[in-house]
Symmetry: C2
């Protein structure tokens, strides 16, 4: 990547490379201690070039989160099935989490760091809130469609969507905190959990089928 | 607290006050940037006094995690019901999480910071692993007893225990990251989730009863 970024790149590609490096450094250390210069060194470029694209470290941080959110949304769009398949759409959201696990793990970490710090930036707050609101809306929409179509049992839509969303957070948080590399397995268990909540397969029957 | 700590305190009380302050600072900032001096200033004491109890910042950090783990275990012991009440014992574990929510939120944060950093300390690693292993063992034991006593449906014990544990992680992680102060409500929803998994109340009936 260091060689690649020295080459003449179109602005979008170069920005993406800078944002990937920023994400890695912000997640491994802490955004309060990472400097724009550190990110530049990691990319093998001059800090001035980063300032050409991003006006400040805050701007770079915000764009880093925005870049991940865009990647996730695009990843989900690419895996979406038809409008009549709400179960498939929930499965696509989970598949995307398995596929992009390292990136999501880093995002989860920097969002937690930012939230725990006293620093507040309205645009960053809005971006994080938007991400979770979109996830909640996507899950609620799928559950409502599945209920309307008779594929799912009748459940409390908001509560069920939040349960799935919290569980995803738990899987990524635990993977980092406990250091046990179990994301695909935990997400498979979440698939069983969702099937149980939506009344398609009882939790016990899932066991019997194992 | 600043006044209290200046007074002549017994070593155990003074240590607990130092560890509470260390936990607060490590969680709000990042353990890599917090110095022993910062913790001393926060306690209103001289750094030398901290070094009297803790040989290094690493030692202080490790003891901070150990102190929280002890608090949690004691909190659960105090709420435990009899050996014939596995459902009550799981409920006590959740109650303890509601009661000690701010402390657990900070612990979850510093464990994530430590895990994401490149710093490795065998004793700290063991402490974190022990905590999660004890939680898993406690939940597995309750589920197994409930199954044996016919109160719970027959389920995959390890998978069900891990599901509960991951969900707890998700609740605390989300509370911090999303900044939505919903821990008691989310833990109540987890009670419904557990009742569903253990076959005592279907997820839909939980809705109807709301």
């Amino acid at each position: 990547m260091k060689t690649a970024i020295r080459q003449r790149l179109d602005p979008a590609t170069r920005c993406a490379l800078i944002l990937d490096e920023a994400l890695r450094q912000f997640a491994e250390r802490h955004y309060s201690v990472v400097t724009v210069r550190d990110v530049a060194v990691g990319c093998g470029i001059n800090a001035a070039l980063i300032y050409y694209y991003f006006e400040s470290k805050d701007h770079l941080f915000r764009q880093t989160i925005g870049h991940v959110v865009e990647t996730l949304v695009a990843g989900h769009q690419a895996r979406r099935t038809g409008p009549d398949d709400p179960a498939g759409e929930i499965a696509a959201w989970l598949d995307m989490h398995v596929q992009l696990a390292p990136t999501i793990g880093r995002m989860v970490k920097i969002m937690a760091d930012y939230a725990a710090s006293k620093a507040r930036d309205a645009a960053t707050d809005a971006l994080i809130a938007d991400f979770y609101n979109s996830e909640q809306a996507l899950l609620e929409d799928c559950i409502a469609r599945g209920m309307a179509g008779g594929q799912f049992a009748s459940v409390d839509i908001a509560k069920t969507a939040r349960t799935i969303s919290l569980h995803l957070d738990g899987i990524f948080h635990a993977s980092a905190s406990r250091g046990d590399d179990r994301i695909p397995q935990d997400i498979d268990d979440l698939r069983s959990l969702i099937a149980t909540l939506l009344g398609t397969t009882p939790w016990q029957a899932v066991l019997a089928a194992d």
